[in-house]
């Protein structure tokens, strides 16, 4: 699933949002891939990921997935997904993966120009890209952009619009901190690509917009 290809956002608020996906191919390198996926997970974990998991694990790190238990389950897996909130983490992970040379395909989602820059620094040559050409059809069915920036962090669409609106409201009223709100919203995304750090920033952004609006009105 191209579950990280269509994240909504601005160049500014996508700056610190990267997902990384290690994926075996069923005809090439899936057989006996467990130890290699474990090695890749270790490398991911060494650079302080915000979240990780995969659809077959049933839940993400943010929802309580235990790294060790997850690592043991990788003999039955075919992929590992992880999410980072800095370009330097991605740079370090790619450097370590290059050294480990597992032969498993690695996909990074994020700003294309940033990824190309990092690839050059690490000495990698990006191979193929899935470009996002936006949303078409009945766009009037969509919630507002600020909500989409949060809901599309779960590419499977499992984070519901009313939940985001409810959490944003509670953050506005001071009943939840942005951090608590982000943890709450990350729960339905089992793959571990919901970026909690970015969600905190987006919720804070909404708060500051509200206070600016208040200021302007006042």
């Amino acid at each position: 699933m191209s579950h990280s290809a269509h994240r909504c956002g601005t160049i500014r608020n996508l700056q610190n949002d990267y997902t990384m996906y290690a994926r075996t191919s069923r005809h090439v390198n899936r057989e006996g891939c467990g130890p290699k996926l474990r090695k890749i997970l270790d490398i991911f974990l060494s650079e302080n990921p915000v979240n990780f998991g995969s659809s077959h694990s049933g839940k993400s790190f943010a929802a309580g997935l235990d790294p060790e238990e997850y690592s043991r389950s990788l003999d039955k897996a075919y992929a590992v997904a992880c999410c980072f909130s800095s370009a330097s983490a991605i740079r370090n992970v790619l450097g370590k993966l290059k050294e480990a040379d597992t032969g498993i395909s690695i996909v990074v989602s994020g700003l294309i120009e940033e990824i190309k820059k990092i690839a050059e620094e690490v000495g990698l040559k990006p191979h193929t890209v899935l470009l996002s050409l936006g949303v078409h059809g009945r766009k009037e069915l969509l919630p507002k952009e600020k909500v989409l920036e949060i809901t599309t962090m779960c590419g499977h669409g499992l984070v519901a619009t009313p939940l985001v609106e409810e959490v944003a409201e509670k953050v506005k009223e001071g009943k939840l901190t942005p951090e608590q709100g982000a943890r709450f919203l990350a729960q339905p995304c089992p793959c571990g690509i919901f970026n909690l750090d970015r969600c905190v920033e987006l919720l804070k952004e909404q708060l500051s917009e509200i206070s600016q609006e208040g200021g302007e009105k006042g």
Binding site: R7, I115, K125, L131, L148
Partner: protein, 245 residues
């Protein structure tokens, strides 16, 4: 999915969790509009119903309804009886993620992905047929490595199995390859048909990077009126043995 009216205390906790907002209040209890429910499982897993009133009834696992969970709940694998030749060991297609070792999208061709119901609205499968019939009339072929293939009664004409047309899923991907020279024709035809679908569609294009790292297709796409997002999914070329051409 279903709510047991005997157990529901109308605490109002679950409706906000539903991505397609199909949980409603009525007669002192909450209920699901089962025709709209895509069986994504979020209410069951995450809403924390205090009385465990939410459950998956046996009917949800019966064909053709079983297609809903298969396409909406990432924890559910494609059932083997429906997808006999797929055996992907997972529900997602490898798509461009492993293109460095499979070469499924070579130079001279583009891949195209049309994700119906994404983001977050869901779609009836009949909406997909509007595009698959159009594409086959333009010479596009659907292949058995893609889950959509198994939903087609007549793959060469893009016609869906009749019993699936009214089923609703959270999202479904129409994925195909085209020759680079076909881009303008296909995009123009898709622009037109996408104005008639009763859902949203996230559109994507797969291409190889040029030797110098550039992506010349972006100019062509923008001339066609398509805006290319600054963020994308990049295969870093780390799979081995690598396919260079």
């Amino acid at each position: 999915m279903r709510i047991d009216p005997e157990k529901c205390t109308a605490c109002a906790q679950c409706p906000d969790y539903c991505p397609v907002t199909c949980i409603h209040e009525g007669d002192g209890v909450y209920f699901m509009d089962e025709d709209e429910c895509v069986e994504c499982g979020v209410c069951l897993r995450d809403a924390g119903c205090p009385t465990e009133a939410i459950y998956m009834p046996e009917e949800s696992n019966r064909y053709p309804r079983s297609i809903r969970a298969a396409f909406s709940d990432p924890a559910v694998q494609y059932p083997e009886e429906l997808f006999p030749d797929l055996k992907q060991g997972g529900r997602g297609t490898e798509e461009m993620k492993t293109n460095d070792v499979t070469g499924n999208f070579p130079r001279g061709e583009f891949g195209m992905t049309l994700e119906f119901g994404r983001p977050g609205t869901g779609t009836r499968l009949r909406e997909v047929e509007k595009v698959t019939t159009l594409l086959t009339s333009l010479g596009i072929r659907f292949e058995g490595s893609n889950a959509l293939f198994f939903l087609l009664e007549e793959p060469e004409r893009g016609v869906l199995k009749r019993e699936l047309r009214d089923e609703k899923v959270l999202s479904i991907i129409v994925e195909f390859t085209l020759a680079e020279a076909q881009l303008e024709t296909i995009v123009a035809a898709l622009f037109e048909v996408l104005q008639t679908v009763d859902t949203v569609v996230s559109w994507g294009l797969v291409t190889r990077f040029e030797e110098d790292g550039s992506l010349p297709v972006t100019d062509r796409l923008e001339k066609l009126g398509l805006t290319v997002r600054p963020n994308a999914k990049v295969n870093m070329g780390m799979g081995r043995p690598i396919i260079e051409d």
